[in-house]
């Protein structure tokens, strides 16, 4: 009798939480080392506000011990769930076990950990290879069988985004014999190097006349390269097609001006899918997939770039 009442009250409590009334969720963010990271924080807060979630935010300033301390404090506060963007992959076992004992579900954002998958509810992230593949597939479609010599601006040599986005793009164009990567150099993910390396590509490829398209591993390098193309007297977006990855605000300006052709979004909105999964879990105990891949959405000049720019410019990129 007593036992049944207790279970009932637990059910009522979970139902109340699932209904979204004053749900409390802790969010341990790595820090704000890049514009994308800052945007992720902003978007997460916006998403929480829209859903009426009480978000407890903690900035770890790139230190794992700060994150572990934040998680313990969330557990002590008895939050309903925890979002964790882990700074490193290892060393999370004990604190995740503590969360599991307290029956607080943990959702990983953007990066993975090496712990037992049973210790967290799910992980939300993007697939770097997939992003590259989307960019490649767009190019195949855009040139429509015409011969195309592509130059590639890689990310920092040896970094996983550089390796994966290169592989993904090569997979995307694998079927098209008309497309060929003729030059590939690192631009270190920066505007300055993107511009400098593009200048040398233009120089080496007959003043740019032999280049049909540019693929840049991130938008910043593409923005630099677009300036180099303009200074060489060519029209970026027409004489040379420009496709890149990330979808930061500045590339939308270039898209709006017709100087870039496409960008693949690495969405800062990891929290949205995470909240969706948590809602479903609280509502009826639905277990989500262990990895939720965010959409790598393609934006072109046709997707209202000016409007996208306005929507993104204040996210903190």
């Amino acid at each position: 009798m007593l036992k049944r009442t207790l279970m009932a009250s637990v059910a009522v409590f979970t139902f109340a939480a699932g209904a979204g009334h004053a749900q409390t969720i802790g969010f341990s963010q790595i820090g704000s080392e890049s514009g994308w990271r800052a945007a992720e924080t902003t978007v997460t807060m916006q998403e929480a506000e829209n859903r009426g979630i009480d978000l407890r935010f903690s900035d770890a300033q790139q230190r794992q011990e700060n994150q572990i301390a934040a998680l313990r404090s969330f557990i002590a506060q008895g939050v309903d769930a925890i979002l964790l963007a882990p700074v490193v992959a290892t060393g999370w076992d004990s604190v995740l076990e503590e969360a599991a004992e307290a029956e607080i579900p943990v959702v990983l954002l953007d990066r993975m950990v090496d712990s037992d998958p049973d210790l967290y509810l799910t992980a939300v992230g993007s697939d770097l290879v997939h992003e590259g593949r989307v960019a490649g597939e767009w190019l195949v479609e855009a040139v429509d069988g015409a011969d195309c010599r592509v130059v590639e601006l890689q990310g920092t040599t040896g970094s996983s985004p550089a390796i994966d986005r290169k592989n993904g793009f090569e997979q995307g164009i694998a079927g098209a014999d008309n497309i060929e990567i003729v030059r590939s150099q690192t631009g270190d993910f920066t505007r300055t190097r993107g511009k400098e390396v593009m200048e040398s590509f233009l120089q080496a490829e007959n003043g740019g006349a032999d280049i049909c398209a540019l693929y840049a591993h991130n938008d910043d390098m593409a923005v630099g390269a677009i300036q180099a193309i303009k200074e060489a007297g060519l029209n970026p977006g027409q004489d040379i097609l420009v496709v890149s990855i990330d979808a930061v605000p500045d590339i939308f300006q270039a898209l709006a001006a017709g100087e870039a052709n496409a960008t693949v979004e690495l969405t800062p909105n990891m929290a949205g899918p995470a909240f969706d999964a948590l809602e479903a879990y609280f509502a009826d105990g639905t277990m989500p997939e262990k990895f939720i891949q965010t959409e790598s959405r393609l934006y072109t000049q046709a997707d209202d770039p000016a409007g996208e720019y306005e929507a993104r410019k204040d996210l903190g990129y």
């Binding site: 704000s32 690192t186 920066t190 511009k195 400098e196 590509f201 120089q203 080496a204 060489a232």
Partner: protein, 349 residues
Amino acid sequence: MTTVLRRVAPQLLTLVAVIMLVSIYFPSFWQIVYVNERLVGIPIDVIKRGAPVALLAIGMTLVIATRGIDLSVGAVMAICGASAAWSIDQGFGLWAALGIALVAGLICGLWNGLLVAVFDIQPIVATLILMVAGRGIAQLITGGTILTFDNDAFSYLGSGTLLGVPVPAVIWVLTGIGFGLLVRRTALGLLVESIGVNLRASTLTGINSRVLLIAVYMGSGFCAALAGIIATADIRGADANNAGLWLELDAILAVVIGGNSLLGGRFSILASILGAMIIQTINTGILLAGFPSEFNLVIKAVLVIIILVLQSPRVLPQLAYLWRGRRDRSQRPKQSQTSQQNAGTETKT
């Protein structure tokens, strides 16, 4: 003039050798065309892209001549670029932006100079402080983002041309000439060399070494500010994380390739600038050659080691001796022939 030529001869020869090496991979090295009111060609790319390192090398040469070193120049570039972008963003206009950026550079130099000259902190430590803290300051100014702006007058400094020549190249040439005249047409150069060789004796000779040291570090800050302005104008945005990153090392390398001793004393700004151009020719050559990115740093390192070994005090005199020896032989072919014949007959008998 001939003494200047003799001083920079090793650097000139090295530059020619590096250009020849690049030409192997890219035969049309010297092809320069005039399109859209601008000169286009590899040499033009080199003098444009080499601008930041050339500018930093000018200031660094003077600092190194005083037996110091300025590790902060890369970070100072970031601070000054950020200051300029912030001013443009605030709508202060071109001249205010330039003024604010240059003053920021001078203040950074003053800080370094005070630490070195007044507080007697070793230069490598004193400038390390700003090297580390400077990027943080720059990020505070930009608010952590790439602070972009749209101002054609300011962008002109990075990507414009004057009579077809890229403006950054014009800026470093003028700065080099300006600093060259400043140190050689006045007594500054002599006094700087003097405190670099023997600070104590120079002070006892009545040289105001403290003020001179501060001035030298401020000069380096000024050059870094110009480099920062160019880098910012070039990409129409201030990137606090990446602007001038590691360029202090390239600048020091340029000074060393320029044959200036890290122990202070005699210096040549022209030789340092040639050193900067040698480095940039290598950089551009690597990009043009189309090797995979993984090889970039290895190729650069190998070439730099070869250059420094050839210029080392042990090897250079022998090269000069061989060179002179060959010239002597070619001028007096008969004599050498007869001596050879003599040698031949001697061995026969």
